[in-house]
């Protein structure tokens, strides 16, 4: 590697350079005491066109050290539900019901001043587009310093040292020099690293990553996912990973919640949901995504389009697109909203579907791709 001394090569921690690296697939860790408990959360926005029911009756819990992936199509309520945890919705224009408990503290209904102490300190968020999420007119170091000093009574120089330390930790080469640069001088991957450094600068216990790699190339995506995984192993934080990409879910998640039309339609461990799905929507997604590592003769798309949150159908919101509506007697799919409960015997997650034995139905379908 003669002239290959490009600066990135300095970040030895991230230079497996062909050498084998442990798999990113999580082992089942944590699992004990829940740090985050979301219970029956609904988020609605009154708009001129009517009430947008962006999130309805979502419940889950997440212990420290564990990763929950929230997966769904755009507009399914993934971001809205996690912004509620950060208290980032405008209270005057949002109706939030249900409860969110973070480390034992109730969040719904708290004042903005109270929330400010939690934001960036107890819980941090990493946004999708690192290009637009960093302020273009301030240096990266300035922005990190500000995040640290907001929650710590320290001098500028102490905060600056801390900022450089964090930039180094997330694998940005020459962190000292980089701290004085502006975001536009960074590449996309480095910007996202800087965002992560800023999110982690106060050692938060919960990290919400809202599509953190959607705007990045695969090779950079892999770097960022590895980084989040390493940081979690080191600091034991809980991670909510929001994504629309089931393959990313497969790579990083312990638990998975599938959202559709603002509701959780399936919820379980990654293995339960991705290998033994119990909801027709999850099954449909799995049938329609070609994997990189296996040949697939046919894709089975889900027909139709995602629903409008302004006029969700009564009953199951997936009914207009579901190929199994007729398997449920009395047209119940169109009238009764199914509950999110366990549906089949065996190791399956919870699913919001009236089918009594989804497992058997899917298994009997077109040659299943799963082993």
């Amino acid at each position: 590697m003669s002239a290959a001394v490009n600066e990135a090569a300095h970040s030895a921690a991230h230079t497996p350079a062909g050498g084998p690296r442990p798999s990113r697939r999580p082992s089942h860790k944590g699992q004990d005491e829940a740090f985050l408990v979301v219970d029956d959360l609904s988020v609605q926005f009154p708009t001129e066109d009517g009430l947008v029911k962006a999130v309805q009756n979502v419940s889950y819990s997440l212990p420290l050290g564990r990763t929950l992936a929230i997966v769904g199509e755009s507009g399914s309520g993934k971001s809205v539900s996690s912004m509620a945890i950060m208290g980032l919705h405008d209270p005057k224009r949002t109706i939030i019901t249900g409860s969110i408990s973070l480390g034992g503290e109730q969040i719904v209904g708290r004042s903005q001043d109270d929330m400010r102490k939690i934001r960036g300190q107890v819980a941090s968020i990493i946004f999708q587009d690192p290009q637009s999420s960093l302020h273009p007119y301030f240096t990266v170091g300035w922005q990190l310093r500000e995040a640290y000093r907001e929650h710590h009574q320290v001098s500028k120089s102490v905060a600056h040292t801390r900022a450089i330390e964090m930039l180094d930790r997330v694998g940005i080469p020459h962190p000292k020099r980089r701290a004085d640069q502006y975001p536009f001088e960074f590449s996309g991957g480095m910007r996202q690293r800087a965002m992560i450094a800023m999110a982690l600068i106060n050692d938060p216990q919960l990290i919400i990553a809202d599509e953190p790699t959607t705007a990045l190339d695969v090779t950079v995506q892999a770097q960022i996912l590895d980084l989040l995984n390493d940081l979690q192993a080191e600091f034991g934080s809980a991670i909510i990973m929001i994504t629309h990409d089931l393959a990313v879910v497969a790579e990083v998640a312990d638990d998975v919640m599938v959202m559709y039309g603002g509701r959780a339609v399936e919820h379980g461990t990654a293995e339960q949901v991705l290998v033994r799905p119990n909801h027709p929507y999850t099954w449909g997604l799995l049938q329609s995504i070609p994997a990189v590592s296996s040949e697939q003769a046919e894709l089975y798309p889900i027909k139709g389009n995602p629903p409008s949150l302004l006029s969700l159908p009564p009953g199951c919101s997936f009914a207009p697109r579901c190929p199994y509506v007729d398997r449920v007697p009395d047209g119940k799919c169109r009238t009764d909203l199914p509950e999110l409960i366990s549906r089949s015997a065996g190791d399956h997650g919870l699913s919001r579907c009236h089918l009594s034995n989804p497992d058997a139905i899917f298994a009997a379908e077109v040659e299943p791709r799963i082993a």
Binding site: I125, L134, H135, E146, Y182, F184, M195, M198
Partner: protein
């Protein structure tokens, strides 16, 4: 940076040069009869020729232009009626009308415009941006609607009507505001303020509504930016989010308009000068045109071009300071 400044300087000089050539062409070559006008009613052709000679208008245009340029760069001497007058560089010549050196006249009037702009800009920038930012935070509320309504109302009433009304009612009829007059701030700062406060308030408040509107639009945009959301997610206070993060980005486009407005006001604020009886550059330019006082016309054009070019340069530098992405390599 130095290279950038040099490049800007080169382009600035060429802009000024082009302006000079074009206006010289327009005013000196175009058919006109300044000598006839100066000569008055009882005029003989001989007298006209004499005046033309004394003004140098009898020479070929190219020679006149060469002389003019020479005057600008190294200065020149004028001879008329046996008297020789030195006109050091940058020489803009002598007024046809009153024989005063043009440069001196213009320099004497510039402080009026400078003072006017200084006070008014302070008022309209600060109130405009503050009001606009506050309105942007709650678009659609009563306060915001009131602001938008007022600016609409203001922009539908011509400025000179407001200025005349204020002058008639608040200065003459019910003398709440002092009568405008220019006194140099270095002679008597108190009198300077007292003399300028009326035009400052009128021009400042009138223009602040449009600044409030620009800033409001610019702020609404920047408040919805992802990086503002990031700032809130860091736990920053609402005030810090608005006035550090959002305003920092919103102010940049406003500064561009500001620079151009200031440049415009510096060279001409005819209504303000005329209505409030201040002898500024705008009035001078107007008078020079009605008198066909060629040297004065050329002088105001050149000074105007120079001021605009300088302001543009300042805006560019300011822009690069505000927005690090516009790098001055």
């Amino acid at each position: 940076m130095l290279v950038y400044i040099l490049r800007r300087l080169a382009s600035a000089i060429s802009v000024v040069l082009v302006t000079i050539v074009i206006s010289f062409g327009l005013f000196f070559v175009a058919p006109s009869d300044p000598a006839g006008m100066l000569c008055g009613v009882k005029c003989t052709p001989a007298r006209v020729a004499e005046i033309e000679k004394s003004l140098g208008l009898d020479k070929p245009t190219s020679e006149q232009f060469a002389l003019y340029m020479k005057g600008l760069v190294v200065g020149r001497t004028y001879e008329s009626g046996g008297v020789t007058r030195e006109c050091p560089a940058p020489c803009l010549g002598f007024s046809f009308k009153n024989d005063q050196p043009v440069l001196g006249t213009l320099i004497a009037r510039l402080p009026v415009n400078l003072s006017l702009v200084f006070g008014a800009a302070l008022i309209f920038l600060i109130t405009g941006v503050t009001v606009g930012s506050l309105a942007a935070k709650r678009p659609g509320t009563t306060g915001d609607r009131a602001l938008v309504g007022t600016t609409l109302l203001m922009s539908s009433v011509p400025y000179y009507i407001i200025a005349i009304l204020v002058f008639l009612y608040l200065v003459i009829q019910v003398p709440i505001l002092p009568r405008p007059a220019y006194v140099s701030p270095f002679q008597n700062p108190g009198a300077w303020i007292a003399g300028m406060i009326t035009p400052w308030l009128v021009l400042g408040i009138y223009s602040s509504t449009s600044y409030a509107r620009y800033s409001r639009g610019s702020m609404i945009e920047s408040l919805s930016e992802d990086y503002v959301r990031t700032a809130r997610a860091k736990g920053l206070s609402d005030r810090r989010v608005t006035f550090v993060h959002a305003l920092r980005a919103a102010i940049t486009p406003v500064m561009t308009i500001f620079g151009l407005d200031v440049a415009g006001l510096l060279v001409s604020s005819i209504f303000t000068e005329k209505i409030f009886g201040l002898q500024g550059l705008g009035i001078t330019a107007l008078q020079s045109l009605t008198n066909y006082d060629l040297p004065l016309i050329m002088g105001t054009v050149i000074v105007g071009a120079v001021v605009l070019v300088i302001m543009n340069f300042i805006v560019d530098v300011l822009y690069s300071v505000l927005d690090p992405r516009v790098r001055l390599v």
